[in-house]
Amino acid sequence: MSNVLVVAEQQHGVLRSASLNAISLGRALVAANGGGTLTALLVGHELGSAAAELARYPVDQVLTVDHPALAAYLAETHAPVVAAVAQQLAAEQVAATATSTGKDLLPRVAALLDAGMASEIAAVVGPRRFKRPMLAGNAIGLVEVLTSRVVVTGRQTEWPAAQPSAAAAPITATAVPPGPALGAEVLGLAQLPSERPELTEARVVVTGGRGMGSGENFKHLGALADVLGGALGATRAACDAGMVPNDLQVGQTGKVVAPELYLAVGVSGAIQHLAGMKSSRVIVAINKNAEAPIFQVADYGLVAKWEDTIEDLTTKLRALRSA
């Protein structure tokens, strides 16, 4: 038996969907410990609607720590809150999805709890034993956390989003003082609003590489993505060249995705890129170079220039959709 605490995320009072993957991970931890309670924690300010949403999912309780000083996410102020709640609940296992916040926050929580941590786990093998990809996805490690308290983050693609449960979980507000900000402050968040689904959750991802030539040309991939209801991705080379925003990067050190359909256009298939998309169900590559390594992982390869294929593909798929 073990108490498991999962750290959920919200932004402006809206629950972030990565929280649902964390719940699946939390349930797996409870199961591996032969039962126990699962608590989902929300830290921030004005959490009412996010908490109500979170309570619809299979957790035993939702805890909120609401304080104006916690409104903007800061590892400095949030980590002590998560650690204090873990202690209050005697939670032996603390988990979150490996989003940029999860990656930033959980190790700091582990430091405050003097707990061992396993990052980006893909499977729970036992109460302290986990599997995690390493070396750009070229090896799967079996690791054991040696402390009694365990902190983990889960790789989002490996943990399905939890489904709503029949009964709503109770929501309790608990007062924990925020940690000191240590002088740190968030000055701003530049986000480009997108109508498209989130890269890590999309059923279809259309990715462009350096071969697209310019940011302007990405609009053709955008149109293709829209016909398929998909998200747009990019390689490091395309992001570095400023063709598209950095947060579209797919790969070992960008976002890891595993959609039903992954279309790579003008992408060579470097190992760091493959590490972020190899688990997609169906991979399509369009590249003018027949020797490009991407073809070694593609289910369907088309040796062609994007200029000669993408508009045609988009038009024909659109026609199929409306048929």
Binding site: A111, P133, L187, D247, L261, L317
Partner: protein, 273 residues
């Protein structure tokens, strides 16, 4: 500004990963500086130099490596890039977990008292992405992980960091001393500003190559060895790698001749559209 940068050596990611008897087979492996650590060295150099025609130093960069004796090669290459001195704490590559590495860094931080601790955001082999956050937690320092831009204030007392987060870029100000980890974009031409080098200056993209002069100079730069006992580090590991296995391999599929053939396969064979 006084900067402490950490560097780990990793097997060259371009070489095929070999697994033997449930462990990494490193026979014939070439080691390189973890790319993100190399970017951290580059960012540290940009923060501590003034480029105006000629380049002059206006700060100090110490590179800390934790690894086997052989790692002095990789530390020399950081010195050849321009770092001022290096410290090598001896340990095996795989023997130390994030916890032990973090405790070593904490101990060295306490001896060196740098203004800024700069680390790569992750290693490309272990990929744990924990060490900097642990160190910041232990030292009670503010942290900014995944930096794509770093700007030092004119008074040298704070930094403004652009952080690559899901969905965009967050700008965070930290008073020094602080812990910062660098992401890929930190080595773009104008990612780092230090109020010394003109803001219009554009660096070549990527970490700098060592010049011949740099390589010659690196041989005379101090590279001191330290051991865990001297540092007073007694941390026990908190994570153990029990075994490694190869992931399932993906088979290459087929080439199709045309857009029509592709659509046909996707509809009738893969049934994905």
């Amino acid at each position: 500004m006084k900067i402490l940068v950490t560097a780990k050596r990793v097997p060259d990611p371009e070489q095929k990963v070999k697994i033997k008897d449930g462990a990494l087979d490193l026979s014939g492996a070439n080691f390189i500086v973890n790319p993100f650590d190399e970017y951290a060295v580059e960012a540290a150099l940009r923060l501590t130099e003034k480029v105006e025609g000629a380049t002059t130093r206006c700060g100090e960069v110490t590179v800390l490596g934790i690894g086997p004796k052989d790692m002095s090669q990789q530390l020399r290459s950081c010195l050849a890039m321009g770092a001022d001195r290096a410290l090598l704490v001896e340990g095996s590559d795989e023997g130390l977990d994030s916890e032990q590495v973090a405790r070593v860094i904490v101990a060295v931080y306490q001896r060196e008292r740098p203004d800024l601790l700069l680390l790569g955001k992750q290693t490309v082999d272990g990929e744990s992405n924990q060490v900097a956050q642990l160190v910041a937690g232990y030292l009670g320092l503010p942290q900014a992980c995944f930096a794509c831009t770093i700007e030092a204030s004119a008074d040298g007392k704070s930094v403004v960091v652009g952080r690559e987060v899901d969905g965009g870029t967050e700008t965070k100000r930290l008073p020094l001393p602080a812990v910062v980890t660098v992401d890929l974009r930190s080595v773009l031409p104008q990612s780092v500003r230090n109020q010394q080098t003109p803001a219009t200056h554009a660096y070549p993209e990527g970490p700098r190559y060592a010049s011949l002069k740099g390589i010659m100079a690196s041989k005379k730069k101090p590279l001191d060895s330290l051991d865990l006992a001297t540092l007073g580090v007694t941390a026990t590991p908190r994570l153990k790698l029990l075994s490694l296995e190869a992931p399932p391999q993906r088979q290459a599929g087929v080439k199709v001749e045309s857009v029509d053939a592709l659509i046909d396969k996707l509809r009738h064979e893969a049934k994905v559209i």
